[in-house]
């Protein structure tokens, strides 16, 4: 290949970088058209400069990928919504508040702290919802679209004003969800598949700023099931928790990058991933020091 003068090389640079004036550009292109060597050199430089730039872009992008971002989902995608409707899921359970929430197998057992008292109310409430939902023949769409906000209201009311008001809310919101036996979920999903209707634009709009649904499979021994949860308004809604799975404990861990949430089910810990948008197996936490930390 031919060697070019400093001037020509500079001109090639300017041409490739798009800093030539319109007149200069036309002149240069005329020159390229009549000089094969120059044309080759321009192509070579285009390639090289593009790569110099690409690798910088890649470097910056891969650095940004390591930056922790606030990923509390603020939007519920319609894909998920429809997916949910199709599964025919009913069930909304607990939510998280400040520290951690603990549920007990025996709802009659006295709570040991104020926090636990509140959570026991939720537990009862959920039992009520099961009945309400069974009686109301809830369509899957209603569950997916309407319930999170209802449950949120119920939960908040429960905290602020006690069980009685919460119960009223439940009775007026018959479409409130309940627990589904995890082991039966698939069967139920099939039976309600066809009921998933189109979601209206209005409902879609209502779902903005709502949490994203996350569905996780779990397996313990011979038992398998699906745990569904949703983060919305900084609260956690559990779906599809069976009474059989109780007690479960949700832990909140304050970290430098924001809060992390973990669930303990039968002495096993799982990370509740707020960034998750696809269905994957539940990630079990095995780091002993993290578990120790959570138990504190």
């Amino acid at each position: 290949m031919k060697d070019f003068s400093l001037e020509v090389l500079q001109q090639i640079d300017n041409y490739v970088m798009g800093t030539l004036s319109a007149v200069e550009k036309t002149q240069f292109e005329t020159a390229i058209a009549s000089d094969v060597e120059l044309q080759k050199e321009v192509e070579f430089q285009q390639d090289l400069i593009e790569q110099l730039n690409n690798r910088e872009a890649i470097r910056i992008k891969s650095h940004l990928n390591t930056v922790p971002v606030s990923t509390t989902p603020a939007l519920l995608s319609t894909k998920w919504l429809i997916g949910y409707a199709a599964v025919g899921l009913i069930g909304v359970g607990a939510f998280l508040y400040n520290t951690y929430t603990e549920f007990d197998n025996n709802p009659n057992k006295e709570a040991v702290s104020h926090d636990l008292t509140i959570d026991h109310k939720n537990y009862y409430e959920n039992q009520d919802i099961v009945t309400a939902a069974d009686e109301a023949e809830v369509t899957s769409e209603e569950v997916a679209v309407n319930n999170p906000s209802n449950t949120l209201d119920v939960a908040e009311a429960n905290i602020e004003e006690g069980n009685e008001i919460a119960s009223n809310n439940i009775s007026s919101d018959v479409q409130a969800p309940g627990f589904v036996d995890m082991n039966d979920t698939d069967d139920q999903g099939v039976s309600t598949d066809n009921q998933a209707p189109e979601i209206s634009n209005e409902l879609k709009a209502k779902n903005e700023n709502r949490g994203l649904d996350v569905e996780l499979d779990w397996e313990r021994g011979k038992k398998r099931g699906t745990l569904r949860y949703r983060f919305a308004n900084e609260k956690l809604f559990m779906y599809n928790i069976t009474p059989e799975m109780m007690p479960y404990t949700i832990y909140e861990k304050k970290t430098h990058f924001g809060n992390e949430y973990y669930i303990e089910i039968k002495k096993r810990f799982y990370r509740l991933d707020q960034t998750q948008t696809v269905k994957t197996e539940m990630e079990e936490v095995t780091n002993p020091s993290l578990i120790e930390d959570l138990k504190k």
């Binding site: 290949m1 400093l6 090389l9 970088m17 080759k40 070579f44 390639d47 090289l48 400069i49 790569q51 110099l52 730039n53 690409n54 690798r55 910088e56 872009a57 910056i60 992008k61 650095h63 940004l64 990928n65 930056v67 922790p68 971002v69 606030s70 990923t71 509390t72 603020a74 939007l75 995608s77 903005e208 960034t275 948008t277």
Partner: protein, 179 residues
């Protein structure tokens, strides 16, 4: 952090500015992309690309902001995503077989180019980056690199580039990429 402060940081070549913007507007852009049939992964990719564009335009002083940075980034994301949707649509309607072979050549070429760039000294890599990617003036490059003046920067850039050209061309000569 104010927009002025962000621009000041970019002016100094402080990439922390990008981190700040990325964190601050992450949800905004994710919502934008998800609302328009994308995923969070798409959103990350598009928003990062938008930040790269913003960085280049701001550091080269090519950008005259008439709006808030967030508004600018939002519209860049919108445009990039629109293009991406068109590209995806076109890709799905095209035969993919034809591009398989050139794609391989291209990847190999990129690998070789990267090797050559990596083999340059750190100073050369920086000077070339400042010149081609950040599109800094020779004065600015001299300032950042601690050279005595813009002529030194110009000479250095020329030497580094010549060195790189030589390395790449000799590798190309050995293979049949460049005939």
């Amino acid at each position: 952090m104010s927009d002025e402060k962000i621009l000041e940081m970019i002016d100094k070549g402080d990439e922390l500015a990008l981190e700040v913007l990325y964190k601050k507007y992450y949800r905004m852009m994710v919502n934008l992309i998800i609302r328009n049939n994308g995923t969070e992964e798409d959103a990350k990719d598009i928003f990062q690309d938008a930040l790269v564009v913003f960085w280049q335009k701001a550091s080269s002083k090519e950008l005259v902001l008439t709006s808030k940075i967030s508004t600018y980034l939002y519209s860049v994301c919108q445009n990039l995503w629109r293009k991406e949707l068109v590209r995806k649509k076109r890709m799905s309607s095209e035969e993919t077989e034809q591009i398989a072979h050139p794609e391989f050549d291209r990847n190999e070429r990129i690998r070789l180019l990267n090797e050559c760039i990596d083999s340059l000294g750190e100073t050369c890599q920086k000077v070339l980056r400042y010149y081609y990617f950040d599109k800094l003036s020779m004065n600015e490059i001299a300032k950042r690199m601690g050279f005595s003046n813009s002529d030194t920067a110009k000479t250095k850039k020329y030497k580094c580039k010549k060195d790189l050209d030589k390395k790449v061309k000799s590798i190309y000569a050995k293979s049949d990429f460049f005939d």
